[in-house]
Structure formats: C-alpha cells, structure tokens
Symmetry: C2
Subunit: 383 residues, 2 copies
C-alpha cells in the first residue's frame, strides 16, 4: 500500500492546502524588487484584517517561537515585572522567554487542563501597578484548553500592563478582536489554522505596544521590530524573507476570507464537538471536561489503561493517521488530536474510524462504529 | 511577452534548482515523527561534510542573519572584547550584532572594495590577549570582495580568540576547511550557492566554540543552540522547522556532491572571470581591482557616467534580467551582479548580452557583442 500516504491530525504542522503547496514551487523572486513590494503590501494589509487591528503587523521568517520572542524582546526590559499565565507547555514558554530577556516573572499557574481564571488576573494586577505586561495563551495546545482572552483583557481593564497573547494554534479558528478587546500584541505562525507550511511567523503590535517598543531595552537584532518597521515603509523586510511562503500566505488568506472567518471558526467548533462526542462514545475521556474551555483546534485525550505509544504506532504505521503524543507533564497519560487548518468536519468521521481501528488492534474493548456514528449524528444535526 | 519570466542575477535569492522546487510542494510531514528524524539525521551529517567539520551543525528556520545572530549570541557575553573585520555592509552587520549583545567591539576597518589584511588581524590580536572572538566575512557581497579566511585563521594562530566566519554568500562556492584551518564558527543560509529558496539558515560550531557556548551569557531563546543540541539527539529541532526546506536541502546537497564540491568552486570562478572579462570589454570597471580578492559569487561594478537606476530598470523591464543595486556607501556608484548557485558558465554569455542591450538602450556607447565575445573566448579556453 501507499506507505507514504499520511494524514496528519497533530497540532501542527497541519495538512497544507494543495493550492498553497503549488505556490511554493513557483520560481523565486527578488525580495527587493517591485513584484515583492506589491505582494508584501497586500499580505500585510490582509493580515491586519485577520488580526482585527489598525496596528502594525510583522512577517518574520521563523517558527512560531520567533514571533513569541519578538513579542517579548520588543516589549520587555531587564528587571521589568511581568505576569505570565501558565497552564501548560506554551504558557511556560512565555515565562521562559521573559526570564531569558531579564524580566521578573510572576507565574499565575493553574492546573494543566483547566482555563486561566480572569479574576485571578484582576487580583494579581490590582496588587501591583508596576506590572509591565501580562502574557497569555489563547489556545494551549499542550492541554487542549482555550482561554477566554476577551475576559482576560477585561480583567486587565485600565491597568497599564500590556496584554500579549500567543495565538499560534488558534489564529484563524478562534475570534481574537485585537483592537476591540484591547489586546496589545498577538503572535502566530503559518503552519496551523492558516493551512500553510511551517516557516513564517506573524506578530501584530497595537499602538500602545508600539510605543513600548522604543522603550524596551532587551537586546534584539534578527527580531528587532524597529528594523522591520523601517523596511516595511518600502515594502520589504530587513533580512531575506521566505518569499515562497509569502506567495502561500496570500493564497491562504484568500481561502480563509472566501470561506468567511466566522464560518472557519464554526467549522473548527464542529470538528471539536465531533471529536469529543466520538471519543466519548468509545469510552475515551478528554482531558478538558468543561466544554467552554475545550480548544476548537486540539483535543488532549486521557489514555486510561490504553498503551498510548502502541496505539499511536498502530494508527500511524497500519493506517497512516498521525496523532500526537502528550506534552510536558501529560506526556505519559494523554495523546492529542489536532483538528485544525485544512480539514473539514467530514474528515473527523474518517479520523474516528481510524481511532476505533487502532484501539481495537491495541486490544481495547470497543464496539466498532460507535464513535463514527456519534460524530455522524452530530454532523447531520448541526449542518 | 512573458512578463513574468525573470532571470535573477542578484546576490540572493538566487534561481532555485527546479528539482528543489518540486520538493517544496510535497505534503508536509510530522516534524516529530520517524520520517523527519531520518531526514534530519541525513542532512545534518551531509552538512557536516560540506562544512568540513566534525563539530556540531545546526539547522535554523530563519534568514541568514538568524545564523549570524546565533553565532554571536551563543559565543559572546556582555562586556566581552571582540574584533570585527569591517569592509562592507555584512562586516558591519557582525559589528552591530556584537554590539547589540553587549560586546565591546573593536572594528578593524578597511576600504570597501578591498580585502582584509591578515597582518592587521595578527597585530590587533597581539596587542590584546583578552579578545574573545574575531568576526570575519568570507564573501562581502556588498562589495564583491572575497577575504582569505585561511590566512586570517593563520594570523589568529594560537591566540585564544574564536574565529567566527560569515559564509552566507560563499558556502558551496569557496573552500572553507573549517576544522583544517581552525575556523571555530561558520554561518550560512539556504538561498545562495545551495540553490534553495530562502528560509533556512545553518551554523556550525567546532569543539572549542561549543565549549564557549556554555559560558556565553547573552540572552537567547529562539536561537539558543543548547536547545537545538538537546533536540538534535532525538533527530528534531526545538521549534517547528521548515520541513519543506529540509526536503530541498537533501536534494541540494545531493546536487552539489554529484557535481563535486571542487567542480562547483571552479564553476563559480569561471563565471566570475567571464563576467569580469566581459564587463572589461565593454569598458565597465569592477570595483575590486585585485583579482585575488574578487568574489566568485558577486561582482560590484562601477557605474561611471551610467545612469544606474535606469540601466537596471531597462534590464529588468525590457529583458527580464534582474541585477542588484549598490549597497551602503556604494549605493549610488555601483550595481551588482550575482553569479552563484543554480547557474552555469554559459549563462554568463546571456547575461552579458543583456548587459550590452541595456547599456545600449540606456545610451552608453558600446559595441554590441564585445562583452559576449570576450566571455565566449574565455569559456572555450578554460573548458
């Protein structure tokens, strides 16, 4: 059989839309020439719409973490007090980044698998007027928790702290009304809900955050957004960008806008619900009990007595479906299903069929077809 | 006519080999799965051969400057004294990077268009045992100067300073025997002589340099090579890499090794010589007079009374050949021709024909065919 036919259901990279893959085989163009200038102007302006901001949007050649580092290094100075919401591996990444650049980090921790409580943010900020920034994660893909950024922004309220949000695995799948909610910085990347290959990262700075950039004293060069701003004025980046992924970006934004950003969000919610109801019918429990906190893009599943490595190996080697392992403190006890990007609700039916097959082969007692059926019923009901 | 048919003769991005472009339209794979682990192991080990080092080679998702920053941030601590050889924009980039990360920078400057004098390196080091690192540029693409890294390494001699080399626009076209010459760190990128699209960068650390990494106190996270080393042990990168460009990298290395690394270097020398002899026949003068210092990959040309912007515009808009402008202090007085990567000596004939056409259209008195002829003669003589 076609051993190389693989279906990725991991939290990124996600399957790349074939139309985007075609753009990455075009001949390269001069990144300092008129064709690039026009492309760059168009994609920056379209990204502004997706970020829902009148602020500045920067395109970085790098992984999602490069956008997170740009968010930290351009807002923080050594000694600054910052508050970091940590309920998983990516919240912890904010904390490590801020510590690396010399910030005094106060971690507001909450159990992995639960959402951040905006009230605790309000309390922590009320105690200290000097906190410079709050770092939050919209979608914690290590646990499958979606945090309520609107409520966190409201809890920040008039406190002068900047609100900096990691939207790497939610951008395009969850609402994030940057200017409307008062979010100051948002970081994301190409290889998640934008359906693109990995290799580009994006970071948006609102006006208040941009004013902070001039004050920030953390050392930065490759990710110094002041250089990007200077070059953006002539339609360029300071360093040679991945021009192919700029082609792909234009296609990706076009696909999302033709679908409709609201429709894309609803598609992800339906995929999430189909996965949850299907797993439940098979006796598998999602880590996140509270549906309001359940991520639209990734579901972490408790393995119970299942031999998770063996189950994942069977799914991949026998059936070509790639599921992710657990992360951090959940490494041994969970596996994760990514349901984001270039996927349709009907793909969840096939996914659940393979989950069933691999569970059966791994020796778990289930009734074949029950997960599929539950997902099918939900699909018919909701569409 | 086909307005989109463009021939890039700029110092990167260079034309991408079509076989490599095909790899970038493959379906994406899991960067934490077995297929990637194997690919990553193969390309790292092949890169080690190209770098001519037994040291550690790191693959970064970023522009060439990200590899330069990794070289600085992982070797330098605030307050360290470093010596930077500056004879163009990229030497100056080393200096700015080192300053950004808190080093005390001593610039050893030499006129743009001339090579660094190894004797001055020896003298500067002899005066100060405390210099921690010497930063050099193998190929200064702002001026078209090739520096003699072997001689600079010999001039460094037993001085404890690390020798850190920017080989972004020379890697694959010029010899750089990293371990043999005693070069400690080499940085390069995908979009030059490797014939790949932009988006990956590479940095190699020899043993002495790797020992310095543990001591370096500059803040770094996205480019913290200690994290890359930890993940390399399991065949991965710490952050989602550009997996498509890892496919392309394997093809690129295969192409270079099938051609033969020595043959590739000679190809670049012949292309350089054809361009120089052709320009000379047309009465155009290269910036770099001393042929031993003339870059095999990029030639900066003095415009004289030529209206350079108009000449370049004609070459691009009428004939589809993209030449680069001058850079830095040479912006107004030179243009640059990139002759590197996926190019053959015979392509220089076509290039010179277009240079002639555009010169004629721009009103310069030349005899058509004279540049072409000189290059043809050299080609026949040397092959």
């Amino acid at each position: 059989m076609f051993q190389e036919k693989k279906n990725l259901f991991i939290p990124g990279p996600t399957p790349v839309a074939p139309g985007l893959l075609r753009t990455t085989s075009r001949p390269v163009i001069n990144h300092r020439g008129p064709e690039f200038h026009e492309l760059f102007g168009r994609v920056r302006s379209s990204l502004g719409r997706l970020f829902q901001t009148e602020g500045k949007v920067f395109i970085l050649t790098g992984s999602g973490t490069s956008a997170m580092e740009a968010a930290v290094a351009n807002t923080v100075s050594p000694g600054d007090k910052v508050l970091v919401l940590v309920g998983g591996a990516f919240g912890e990444r904010w904390a490590k980044l801020a510590e690396t650049f010399g910030a005094q980090v106060e971690r507001l921790t909450y159990p992995w698998g639960t959402a951040a409580d905006p009230e605790r943010v309000r309390e922590a900020l009320a105690k200290d007027e000097g906190i410079k920034a709050v770092f939050a994660t919209q979608n914690e893909s290590s646990t499958g928790v979606a945090n309520d950024i609107k409520a966190i922004a409201a809890a920040r309220g008039d406190h002068p702290a900047l609100l900096v949000v990691d939207a790497v695995s939610s951008f395009g799948a969850m609402e994030l009304d940057m200017d409307g909610w008062g979010v100051d910085v948002v970081a994301t990347a190409s290889q998640k809900c934008l359906m693109m290959p990995p290799g580009l990262a994006f970071v948006a700075f609102g006006q208040r955050a941009w004013e902070a950039v001039a004050e920030a004293k953390a050392p930065r060069f490759y990710l110094d957004l002041r250089q990007y701003e200077t070059f953006a004025a002539i339609g360029e980046t300071p360093f040679t960008p991945n021009v192919h992924l700029c082609f792909a970006l234009e296609e990706a934004i076009g696909m999302l806008e033709r679908e409709g950003v609201q429709a894309a969000r609803e598609r992800h919610l339906l995929m999430r619900d189909m996965v949850r109801v299907g797993l439940s019918a098979l006796g598998l429990e999602p880590l996140v009990k509270d549906e309001r906190a359940a991520s639209p893009t990734v579901t972490a599943v408790l393995g119970g007595d299942l031999d998770i490595p063996r189950f994942r190996r069977i799914a991949e080697e026998e059936f070509g479906f790639v599921l992710a392992g657990g992360q951090g403190e959940l490494k041994a006890t969970t596996f994760r299903i990514g349901h984001m990007g270039y996927m349709l609700p009907v793909d969840m039916v096939g996914l659940l069929a393979v989950v069933e097959l691999a569970l059966a082969r791994a020796g778990k007692k289930i009734e074949l077809g029950q997960g599929v059926k539950a997902a099918q019923e939900l699909l018919l009901e909701r569409t």
